[in-house]
């Protein structure tokens, strides 16, 4: 199967009768052209590598002023005061992690259910159309999710969902001033609609099609004979899924979840609309907060000076590092299944 240009050109040179110069010249030119072609292709492949390295290098370079000025305090300080020129990245970093975590906690069980439905539960005629619909929806630009969140979902959150959560789980009180909730500080505050919790839910809605189509694809790689053997022994559908399909695909499923996590961490538009863009650190998920991407999108074009701009670029560098690690884990885990598939 291995085809390289060298043996071919060598063979044609050897086969050509001595004295027929045109053939020699031709094969020499072919060899040169081949080498040139190969180098051009190689250069383009290197560009891919350079793009990623460049993104890391350029954001680190652009953020050097902020990182140099604040040192480690950049990562540990919660103060983000544009007027005083104090920039600490802890609030956006926490906001990014918490919104992505909420999104994953909501999206993974739902996506798992959808993938299960589409591979083992739904009648045959239903699987292809629903699967295609979900894959198409995974391609809808995130700004649409952001607008829907801002115009439709935030009002619903502030009039129905958040008051209920605050009354039953948070610090809500009845008319007499008696506490009705459990007093959990994460669910306390005012029902203003925008905030960390809302951002997490919108992100979850956004990554559900994404994670469920990865999971569905992964579930479909399980050999039918494995599943049918289990059915033949009298397993129920759930037992086949839980004891056969899931162990077989475990690493790839986790890889898919991490891919979704990577999306949620780096998402800008779906979050910016609904997170509230506040640099105050709050224990409550109901309160406005901010994420790295939202901070950059909101403040970059109105940055007050070089230090502010540099702090925002340094934030981009932090985001790059976090998503790189998450995506690298995702890829390594997905690759394990691919390897096993290939080895069969």
């Amino acid at each position: 199967m291995t085809i390289s240009p060298e043996p071919t050109s060598a063979a044609s040179t050897a086969a050509s009768p001595i004295g027929v110069r045109s053939v020699d010249v031709g094969s020499g030119r072919d060899a040169r052209n081949d080498a040139l072609f190969r180098r051009a292709m190689f250069a383009c492949a290197l560009l891919v590598l350079l793009a990623l390295a460049g993104a890391a290098g350029a954001t680190l370079w652009g953020g050097r002023q902020a990182l140099g000025t604040f040192g480690w305090h950049f990562f540990t300080s919660t103060t983000w005061d544009v007027n005083a020129g104090q920039f600490g990245a802890l609030v956006p970093i926490i906001g990014t992690l918490v919104t992505a975590l909420i999104a994953i906690l909501v999206a993974v069980p739902v996506s798992f259910g959808i993938a299960m439905f589409l591979t083992d539960v739904a009648p045959q005629w239903m699987r292809a159309p629903i699967g295609t619909a979900i894959e198409l929806l995974a391609g809808i630009p995130s700004i649409i999710y952001g607008m829907w969140g801002f115009f439709v979902f935030v009002p619903i959150m502030s009039t129905y969902i958040q008051p209920w959560l605050i009354a039953h789980l948070g610090d809500g009180t009845d008319d007499a001033g008696k506490a009705t909730g459990l007093g959990l500080s994460v669910f306390s505050g005012a029902p203003i609609g925008v905030g960390i919790f809302t951002a997490g839910i919108v992100l979850a809605v956004m990554i559900i099609p994404f994670i469920s189509s990865v999971m569905r694809e992964v579930f479909l790689t399980v050999p039918t004979r494995l599943k049918e053997s289990a059915y033949a022994l009298g397993s129920t559908r759930w037992e086949v899924l839980w004891d056969i399909v899931l162990p077989y695909t475990r690493t790839a499923v986790i890889g898919g979840v991490f891919l979704g996590l990577g999306r949620a961490l780096g998402e800008t538009m779906a979050v910016t609309f609904v997170i509230g863009n506040s640099h105050d650190l709050s224990a409550s998920l109901m309160m406005p907060g901010t994420s790295i991407a939202a901070t950059i999108a909101n403040e970059f074009n109105e940055a007050s000076g070089d230090l502010h701009r540099s702090a925002l670029i340094a934030l981009a560098f932090v985001l790059f590092l976090v998503t790189f690690v998450v995506l690298a884990i995702a890829k390594l885990m997905l690759r394990q299944l691919a390897k096993r598939e290939g080895g069969k």
Partner: protein, 300 residues
Amino acid sequence: MNAQIGMASAAVAKRSTVAQGLYRRRSAVNIIALVFSGLATLIGLFFLAWILWTTLSKGISALNINLFTKMTPPPGEQGGLLNAIVGTVCLSFMGIAIATPIGIAAGTYLAEYAKLKPFGEAIRFVNDILLSAPSIVLGMFVYTLIVLPTGKYSALAGGIALALIALPVIVRTSDEMLRLVPGAMREAALSLGVPQWKVTLQVLYRSALPGIITGVLLALARITGETAPLLFTAFGNLYWSINPTKPIASLPVVVYQYAQAPDEGWNALAWAGALLITLFVLLLSILARGILLRNKVSNE
């Protein structure tokens, strides 16, 4: 004797009740799981249908001919999205025009030269990460690479940022599609003495063309709705401009700005823009699937 039979039958009865209990529990768990999976699908489809419905209903009510004939208006005035639509077409075209040749070439290198060697695998790994990397970081990269040195926002910078997002999609599909071309085809061409570069250009590309086009269409669908990287590269422009060295308007950025403004006219324009983007992206994805599917059928 009778006592023994009695004991034995009692044991059987006990065993059968244990088995029945176990069976009941197993089928109960199964039914709960099945109901859960059905519910999850309903919830997922419900939210997605809701989002599409919102975009459709609010967008259609804002659709009119002005969208395609007038420029983006200042607050409180009537206007359209003409410069933004043209800007998005220009930016997407630039992104695809830059990313397609590079992406196909890189995919060719991976599929035809590097194959499964460690270096090729490393490039594939990096490419996959680039595929899911946050677009805002890529925008920042282009900002420090081009906007800072030249000192101004420009359409070209926006096009390059979009090219960076389109590139990994094209690399990946080209790589996968070229690897699907049967080895016999390469061997047949090479055995006729055709040099490798000609084999690649005239045999492999021809065979993998539908797949590669699919990749380009998917990349186009991906970059048309990208907002974040354009904010600080192409920036935005209230007026007509197709000059690549000047800031240029784009639909997603206009939608982003108009949606957040406290102005009903602007909000309506934002929904119209959102509808245009969504329809275009859905259409492209369906088209890409159609090409891939038709090709699959014809190969069989």
